[in-house]
């Protein structure tokens, strides 16, 4: 069985290699090759899952050692896989949602001439992501970690001829690199502290290491997680990443890659458990991002960017839960899985809407679409209900557990974190209701509108092909796109309930992450009820603003907060002023210094040597007799010197 693990990674990797090296010959079938290989991975995952269920909870971990990667002295890096319950959860999520999104992309990318390449990149992403969750040591995880970064870079910038897409791709990679720095420093710290960076030995020996060291490692891991999972302060790339094709946003920037940070923290549970400081920082980062993303999500008129804000916020919940320790790990992963379903579904729905609306992304130019796209409306609607935590749907179970766990942290911290989580739930209800109302309800604002304003370029360049300025004719998407949406919608509805019956999910993950039931200071029922109350309040406000009143096509100026939120709470402006401008000045002045100072010193030396030789040159006046004089003079001096030396 364990020999199958490598195949999980190998199948999509093969697909990527074939599709990217295969050339134009494969254009006709490339997308199906990609989809089938993704599905192969999923099937292998299912087989392994079935095998795992047949064993006792403590014997479920499979390992596979391929070969020694880097052997240098004590530094022994292995290529080895470890498949336990945590990895298994991810494998199923990644390959399952991944296969669905491959299928969806067959329809979505139908008119793109570079579709084969797109599927090559998607397969590359799957391989890297599976490697990330299957690695049995941190260095191999790092390979997957950067691999998904690369795939994300390639896919965000898939429409490279658009400068905005190319810039967004570069930004995503760079911000992620800052996080990667954290991961590499963490690995170095592990190596100097434990002499190894394999999961098993490191996590088993945390008891012997000093708490300060563990805090340092934990914080570095958290930095890495912040980069990949778009947490404050490294969140700025996620909004721009929406420049990529929508299936990419669904798969990479909602369901899987951005949750890698949560995986990293939960995987390193023992390190965080041993360091309360690192845990505290983790919860703070989660709580801050949770609000940050939610606020940004409220102000965006671009449907994908609103969803991106929401993703950020939901991952904030997961990070918050992961920071709570054993009372939260399980729920972080549970929310991660349910979120994978409903957020991927929401993005696919958004893609379907854009597909039918000439790739328009501005929600102010939507409205009343439920009549034209019934399947999209229903699936999107179910995703919407799931994310706001409507009782009985997936999001309800997972989010509610996180809020409970936050309160259960105890003390003032618990109250603060719990309240923030509750507030976040209210804002979530608000912005998601807003999205829902602006898109599917109200008047049909896309009719009789003036031509698209030039400063709002549509995200998808395909628009140019079928006339961006014509009035859109909203229509339902083809089956190949709606089927994945339906499957995901089913997941969004039932996954949470399925996991929660008899606390299945807790028992499933407990052997890996540990689980402790947290008791909130108030009863669980109170928490649930207050969640319901804030949900209704949030949704109600949104209804009052966007359901009962017509939505203006041109965005009103809005309050100071709205305007700041539209600009990602000014974080980008800060980056621009401090990092971009500052960096430009720094490099420019360094170029100047290199040219004038460093080079100048050497050139100055050369010039002074040149000047000296210019003087000396005058001695060479061309008169043979003066040369003879100097010869005789020199000989005389030499002889005199010799005589003097010997005479003395």
């Amino acid at each position: 069985m364990e020999n199958l693990i490598a195949l999980l990674v190998a199948a999509p990797l093969l697909g990527a290699a074939v599709l990217l090296c295969g050339g134009r010959r494969l254009d006709a079938v490339g997308h199906w090759i990609g989809t089938v290989l993704a599905a192969v991975s999923f099937v292998i995952g299912i087989v392994l899952f079935a095998d795992m269920l047949g064993k006792g909870p403590e014997e479920r971990t499979l390992t596979q050692h391929l070969f020694t990667w880097i052997p240098v002295g004590d530094f022994q890096a292995e290529i080895g896989f470890q498949l336990d319950q945590l990895s298994m959860t991810f494998v199923l999520l990644i390959s399952g949602v991944g296969s669905l999104i491959h299928l969806y992309s067959v329809g979505y990318m139908e008119h793109d001439e570079r579709r084969r390449r797109f599927f090559g990149y998607l397969n590359l992403f799957l391989a890297a992501m599976l490697l990330l969750v299957l690695a049995d040591n941190y260095l191999l995880l790092y390979v997957g970690w950067e691999g998904v970064g690369l795939a994300s870079y390639l896919l965000i910038g898939f429409w490279q001829h658009k400068p905005s897409a190319a810039t967004a791709a570069k930004k995503a990679f760079l911000v992620n690199r800052v996080g990667d720095m954290g991961l590499s420093i963490a690995i170095m710290l592990m190596f100097t502290t434990f002499g190894t960076f394999a999961f098993g030995p490191v996590l088993a020996s945390t008891g012997d290491a000093s708490e300060g060291m563990l805090t340092a490692i934990g914080l570095m891991l958290l930095l890495a997680a912040c980069g990949k999972s778009a947490q404050v302060p490294l969140q700025s790339w996620l909004g721009d990443a929406m420049e990529g094709p929508t299936p990419v946003s669904a798969l990479i920037h909602a369901a899987t890659m951005v949750t890698a940070g949560v995986y990293l923290i939960v995987r390193s549970a023992d390190i965080f458990n041993a360091s309360p400081d690192a845990q505290l920082v983790t919860t703070v980062v989660g709580a801050v991002t949770l609000l940050f993303g939610a606020i940004v999500g409220c102000a965006k008129d671009d449907i994908k960017k609103a969803l991106a804000g929401s993703t950020m916020s939901q991952i904030g919940y997961m990070v918050l839960a992961a920071g709570l320790g054993p009372i939260g790990y399980v729920f972080a992963i549970m929310h991660l899985v349910t979120h994978g379903f409903f957020k991927a579904g929401l993005f696919l729905g958004a893609g379907s809407v854009m597909h039918g609306m000439n790739d328009e992304v501005d929600m102010r130019k939507y409205g009343g679409l439920r009549k034209y796209m019934p399947i999209t409306f229903v699936t999107f609607g179910l995703g919407y209900l799931a994310i706001i935590g409507f009782p009985g749907l997936s999001g309800f179970f997972s989010k509610d557990k996180i809020i409970e766990a936050a309160f259960a942290k105890g003390g003032t911290e618990g109250w603060i974190l719990g309240s923030v989580a509750l507030l976040g739930a209210a804002i979530t209800a608000y912005y998601m209701t807003r999205v829902m109302l602006m898109t599917f309800f109200g008047e049909e604002r896309w009719r009789n509108q003036p031509t698209a304003s030039p400063d709002e370029p549509s995200a998808e360049p395909a628009a140019e092909h079928h006339g961006a300025h014509a009035e859109p004719h909203p229509h339902e998407s083809p089956k190949v796109m709606t089927i994945p949406m339906i499957v995901l919608a089913v997941g969004s509805v039932f996954a949470g309930g399925f996991f929660s019956i008899g606390n299945r999910f807790e028992h499933w993950l407990e052997p890996v992450t540990g689980y402790k039931h947290g008791n909130p200071p108030v009863s669980a029922l109170t928490v649930t009820l207050s969640t319901m109350v804030v949900l209704v309040i949030g949704a109600g406000i949104a209804y009052a603003q966007y359901g009962r009143r017509p939505v203006p096509v041109v965005a009103p100026r809005g309050s100071l907060l709205t305007r700041a939120a539209r600009r990602d709470l000014l974080q980008d402006d800060f980056n621009h002023v401090v990092l971009v401008r500052g960096g430009e000045h720094l490099t420019r002045s360094l170029v100047y210094v290199d040219h004038t100072l460093v080079d100048g010193v050497v050139n100055g030396t050369a010039a002074s040597v040149g000047g000296l030789s210019g003087r000396l040159r005058r001695l060479q006046n061309g008169y043979a007799r003066s040369y003879a004089v100097s010869m005789f003079g020199g000989a005389a001096i030499l002889i005199a010197a010799t005589l003097l030396m010997r005479g003395v």
Binding site: L20, F67, T68, W69, I70, P71, V72, G73, D74, F75, I79, L139, V143, W145, E146, G147, L150, Q160, H161, K162, P163, A165, A166, T167, A169, K170, F173, L174, R177, V178, D180, M181, S184, I185, I187, M188, L189, F191, T192, T193, F194, G195, T196, P201, A204, S205, D208, A209, S210, M213, G583, L586, T587, R588, L590, V591, D594, V598, D599, V602
Partner: protein, 532 residues
């Protein structure tokens, strides 16, 4: 094959032949009649491939676990001064000889048309022959300086390779700039003279140190001096050792190049044709870092330890400074040059971190940097030859018209930024971990280099390859077969060594262990005994 192996076993001078073959090939190539230009190219290519075969034989014959120096040859040369013709290779030298022999065929193939006459000139036009002969001459001298175990012998080849390099830089510019262009020719000769002067000054100081070493030790033989030092028979006064060390190190730091002695490299790489630029940075400069490992550490262990803090800081400055300057460049080739300066900072840092990981990583880095820079620079050269400009701003949207070119360029760039899965990641991480284990603060600051590397690479890629297609590049053809033959094996090698670097580390590790015991250093031990 028995006969072959018998010949090899019976004192066959494999090392001499490996270096001699390109030397003879250089003369033969230069002697090809002027009209038979293409024959000269093929001859040079065949010679370089034959040298590659010999390098592979060395690789196979070398036993990693055996003696420190193997395949030794020793003959009296200038008996009065105790100068001997002594050759021998350790694992580090073997790896670098293999790299050199590997890259030269690609350099020749990439520069296939770089020295063609612009129009059919008189039949006496000979620079084509000269170009390829000079490349082979450089190869011979570089290989010999990797092989020499006599300090004086090494010095000779270390200096002699400047001569063919000078002519390669000064004599052959980008075809884009036309052979006859006055301004370009002036810049080129400025760059060539600068290259020559910098390295000559370094070499001169080294010569003084070489003579000083002879005065102190009474021999030029590396192994004798090292043995005498190890057994305590040769005591150098602390001051003497430090001065000698500085003399050697200065020359190597110029060649490497280390900040602030680096300014010749951007000029030389900017003005030279792309294959020659690869020759400079991927092959010739490696002699500098190689010599630090072999001569500085082995001959002057105490002085090396004494100088370590300063050198590490200089290396760190190189890393950050080179990367920042790369960000600010407008010229593609100069950008790659500054990136190389940053990478050489990593190599030197790894050498002087005095840990197994640092030094193995540094050696691996030399090999990987050679391959990755060759890939990036040669593709950049193909790009430049199509448009006739080195300025980044003159490009845009190339990806749309020449996707294969853009793809290979991206892979070269990703290798430069040390993406995991490609070879440079392994070496860079080893260097970082090796440095971090002993000097955590320097290790952490150096880690910023990986962010900056991503910045300059991706900015370069974005500005040249993405965005709307510029009118001037709209007709740009994609890579031709010859160019693909150059790039594809390099990329395959980058991936292979990224996934399975063990063949190289196995050869390098024992040599590094020797060096570590020369400097009497042990790796820092972890704080915690990890559970198994």
């Amino acid at each position: 094959m028995t006969t072959m192996s018998q010949v090899v076993n019976a004192g066959f001078p494999l090392l001499t032949v490996t270096a001699g073959l390109p030397a003879v090939g250089a003369i033969a190539t230069a002697a090809v009649p002027a009209a038979r230009r293409t024959a000269a190219k093929w001859l040079a290519l065949l010679v370089s491939l034959a040298t590659l075969v010999l390098a592979v034989v060395i690789l196979v014959r070398f036993e990693p676990g055996g003696d420190r120096y193997q395949l030794n040859e020793s003959h009296a040369w200038i008996a009065d001064f105790g100068v001997r013709y002594e050759l021998g290779v350790d694992g580090i030298a073997v790896a670098l000889i293999a790299l050199t022999a590997l890259l030269i065929p690609f350099v020749i193939l990439a520069g296939w048309h770089d020295a063609d006459p612009l129009e059919t000139k008189s039949s006496r036009w000979r620079p084509t022959q000269g170009f390829f002969a000079l490349i082979l001459a450089v190869e011979a001298m570089v290989i010999l300086s990797f092989e020499a175990t006599d300090v004086f012998l090494f010095y000779i080849f270390f200096e002699a390779m400047l001569i063919p390099m000078y002519f390669l830089i000064g004599g052959f510019g980008d075809r884009a700039h036309q052979h006859g262009d006055k301004a370009a020719a002036t810049q080129r000769s400025y760059a060539a003279v600068k290259f020559l002067l910098y390295n000559l000054v370094g070499g001169l100081i080294m010569l003084a140190a070489v003579i000083g070493l002879y005065v102190v030790a009474g021999t030029f033989s590396l192994s004798e001096i090292a043995d005498a030092r190890a057994s305590g028979n040769l005591d150098m006064a602390t001051g003497t050792e430090r001065w000698l060390f500085l003399g050697f190190f200065f020359a190597f730091a110029v060649k490497a190049p280390l900040w602030p002695l680096h300014t010749w490299l951007p000029n030389a790489m900017g003005e030279a044709t792309a294959p020659v630029a690869v020759l400079i940075t991927a092959v010739v400069d490696k002699v500098g870092t190689f010599a630090m490992l072999r001569f500085c550490l082995q001959l002057f262990p105490e002085a090396s330890k004494w100088a370590t803090p300063v050198i590490l800081v200089l290396a760190l400055i190189s890393i950050i400074y080179g990367a920042l300057l790369a960000v600010g460049q407008r010229d593609i080739k100069r950008l790659v040059a500054y990136a190389s300066i940053s990478h050489f900072g990593f190599i030197i840092m790894g050498i002087f971190a005095m840990t197994t990981q640092g030094q193995s990583g540094a050696t691996l880095y030399m090999v990987n940097h050679g391959i990755s820079t060759a890939a990036l620079m040669l593709v950049a050269g193909f790009l430049i030859s199509r448009r006739g400009s080195r300025l980044i701003a003159d490009y845009g949207g190339v990806q749309k018209v020449a996707p294969v070119l853009a793809g290979t360029f991206l892979i070269g760039g990703l290798a430069t930024l040390s993406l995991p899965g490609l070879a440079p990641f392994v070496s860079e991480f080893l260097v970082l971990v090796g440095t971090f284990a002993r000097y955590p603060v320097i290790g952490i600051i150096a880690t910023f280099g990986i962010v900056l590397a991503a910045l300059y690479t991706l900015v370069l890629y974005q500005r040249t390859m993405t965005g709307p297609v510029k009118a001037e590049v709209a007709e740009m053809p994609d890579l031709k077969l010859r160019e693909l033959v150059v790039v594809a094996p390099l990329i395959a090698l980058l991936i292979f060594l990224g996934v399975y670097p063990k063949p190289v580390t196995d050869i390098v590790n024992p040599a590094v262990q020797h060096t570590m015991s020369d400097v009497q250093q042990k790796d820092p031990q972890p704080d915690v005994e990890a559970a198994k």
